[in-house]
Symmetry: C2
Subunit: 120 residues, 2 copies
């Protein structure tokens, strides 16, 4: 007689697993949290602003990640009719719902650093 899954066999757990996959799928990659964090902080920023603010990112990655975020309605892209054409990126209302998650992420990272210093 083969053993079967016990814990995950309930619909509730299957759904929770799927929820984790959904979130991580949308927020995958090295830069999405950084972009969102910067945008939450800075309200409205241009492409070159983001390139300067986010240390280490290249224009290809920034462009691609912004497209992903826009596709998922987390970031808005507005072309302004200014003299040298500029584009304004901002977090959408829906994107702002990620703030608590990013906050938890940051808090945990800070605590982790401190725990290394404290215990060693």
């Amino acid at each position: 007689m083969k053993k079967k899954s016990v814990i995950n066999d309930t619909p509730a757990c299957q759904i929770r697993m799927q929820a984790i996959s959904d979130t991580m799928g949308i927020l995958s990659g090295k830069w999405k949290f950084h972009i969102l964090g910067t945008l939450i902080e800075g309200r409205k920023l241009g492409f070159m602003d983001l390139l300067r603010e986010i240390d280490g990112i290249g224009s290809k990655m920034l462009s691609k990640e912004l497209q992903d975020l826009e596709m998922n309605h987390l970031v808005s892209r507005t072309v302004m009719n200014t003299k040298p054409i500029t584009v304004e990126y901002a977090v959408t209302e829906y994107g702002a719902t990620l703030a608590p998650l990013i906050d938890e992420l940051t808090k945990w990272g800070l605590a982790y650093r401190q725990s290394i210093h404290g215990s060693k």
Copy 2:
């Protein structure tokens, strides 16, 4: 005159960015959140239990991810002296501090699903 970073130029923001990188570095990969979530739910589980509970994971990935998590003191590995040798994996006290983060992740994923159904 070249423009310089304005928002991220403060030490506070540099540290926040680093915190995000730290957390995502430790929790990187397709399976870490699933393993931790299952382990938080199931308290103590053997290798084969986890293999059965986590839908889609293979033994190589499970083994590797568990080693990563153990190295970062998020999961404990205890070899039991039972008849057929068994190993007990459990979330450490420190690993349990990730519960709020995993919770936020899950909540956001659930809300995302609902927003798609609701708006479309």
